[in-house]
């Protein structure tokens, strides 16, 4: 029989300085955190960096984790913010006044347009505004409920629903 220890027990041990407990938490949550970053950033190397930074930030702030939300929601929250920061920084690389919004079909995504349907879909997701992309990724790829997405983003479930709705329409228009 395998004894499964709850996240919260591991969190308490890690809060007391037990790095092995934290390691087990990283092992449990690295897939969703990395996958979120990958869908948000559409770049494996950026996603790896964002996932690393997420867990390091989580370790540093672990003392403040109060179990009011699940660890998974808390990690999604940190990861989402990391990704938004990366997306913000990328705007400089593409030139401050010629960002994606001005000409969404230029830039690194253009190459992906020639790939298969899933590559085109990934590129279309990458063209959504970050505000629309986050709820879409959390809902469609991470399977979170509106309430959980609201916790991650500090939004009411109703506001989440609205953003998600616009994101879907935008995505379908783009992919059509």
């Amino acid at each position: 029989m395998v004894l499964v220890v709850d996240d919260i027990h591991l969190v308490r041990a890690a809060q007391a300085g037990d790095t092995a407990a934290f390691e087990e938490l990283v092992r449990r949550h690295e897939l969703p955190v990395y996958r979120l970053a990958l869908r948000m950033l559409n770049d494996a190397s950026d996603a790896e960096d964002a996932a690393q930074e997420t867990f390091l930030a989580a370790w540093r702030a672990l003392a403040s984790f109060r179990a009011e939300s699940t660890l998974s929601t808390w990690l999604y929250r940190i990861a989402t913010n990391r990704c938004l920061a990366v997306l913000g920084a990328n705007e400089l690389r593409t030139g401050p006044l010629s960002g994606r919004e001005m000409d969404p079909r230029s830039g690194p995504e253009a190459a992906a347009l020639e790939g298969d349907a899933l590559d085109r879909l990934k590129a279309a997701i990458a063209r959504l505004t970050p505000e629309q992309r986050v709820p879409l990724v959390l809902r469609e790829f991470e399977g979170l409920a509106y309430e959980e997405i609201g916790e991650v983003l500090d939004l009411t479930p109703g506001a989440v629903k609205g953003r998600l709705h616009r994101a879907r329409l935008e995505l379908l228009k783009d992919a059509a």
Binding site: Q15, A16, G17, T19, F22, E23, V26, R27, E30, L31, Y34, R35, L38, A44, E48, A51, Q52, E53, F55, L56, A57, A58, W59, R60, A61, L62, A63, S64, F65, W74, R77, I78, N81, R82, L84, A85, V86, L87, G88, A89, E91, L92, P96, L97, G99, E101, L118, L121, K122, E140, F141, G143, H165, R168, L169, L171, L172, K173, A175, A176
Partner: protein, 211 residues
């Protein structure tokens, strides 16, 4: 393609958005009787299903976490001088600032410039000013930002800036700071069209530039 009519209902009066959510969430139709017999609804659904099928396919795609992720994280965790417990940081401290954008409303649309863009311009200008040795990345709060030593607050088209600098020993500090202010304000204006409402500078250390 049905969706090309942005925001407009189908000829039968049904909102395309409702059909999108029906397909995406797997919900039952709002008006099953109408939908079953309406050619417009059926055509829209026939377009939507395969498109959304791709989203579902992507959701099923296997994602493989790079094998070194765990080891890299744990190496950093174990190397931390201050264990998480003693550091006692709040989530707010370790989250990077939420990205916010400055807005420039023009005749042909709105330009949005993220605060991190402005921060990076400021870093470049500060470091290019004679007498500035470095930006102070001190403090865990600041360290986690993409641009340590710079804090940018945007409000519409106005930008307030806080810089933490390490300056070289030898030059008069007020003159160095005046030069930083002038350069920073000019660069932000020229590169982004935004005005700086305040540039607060804290000198946190000096360095002997002969070393």
């Amino acid at each position: 393609m049905t969706l090309a009519h942005d925001g407009e209902p189908l000829p039968c009066g049904v909102d395309v958005g409702l059909l999108v959510d029906q397909v995406a969430e797997g919900l039952p139709p709002v008006d099953p009787e109408h939908q079953a017999t309406c050619e417009f609804c059926q055509a829209a659904l026939a377009d939507l299903e395969p498109l959304w099928g791709q989203v579902r396919e992507l959701a099923r795609e296997d994602v493989v976490v790079p094998g070194r992720l765990l080891a890299t994280v744990m190496q950093a965790v174990r190397a931390e001088q201050i264990p998480g417990r003693a550091a006692g940081l709040s989530l707010r401290d370790v989250l990077p600032q939420l990205v916010s954008h400055a807005l420039l409303v023009g005749e042909r649309g709105t330009l949005r410039i993220s605060d991190s863009v402005i921060a990076q311009i400021l870093v470049r200008e500060a470091l290019a000013t004679p007498g500035v040795s470095a930006l102070d990345s001190g403090g865990v709060r600041s360290m986690l930002r993409a641009t340590p030593g710079v804090e940018v607050t945007v409000d519409g088209s106005r930008v307030a800036v806080r810089l933490r600098l390490v300056v070289d020993l030898g030059l008069p500090i007020p003159e160095v700071l005046r030069a930083v202010r002038l350069r920073a304000a000019k660069a932000v204006r020229v590169m982004t069209g935004l005005e700086t409402s305040a540039i607060d500078i804290t000198v946190t250390d000096v360095r002997d530039s002969d070393h």
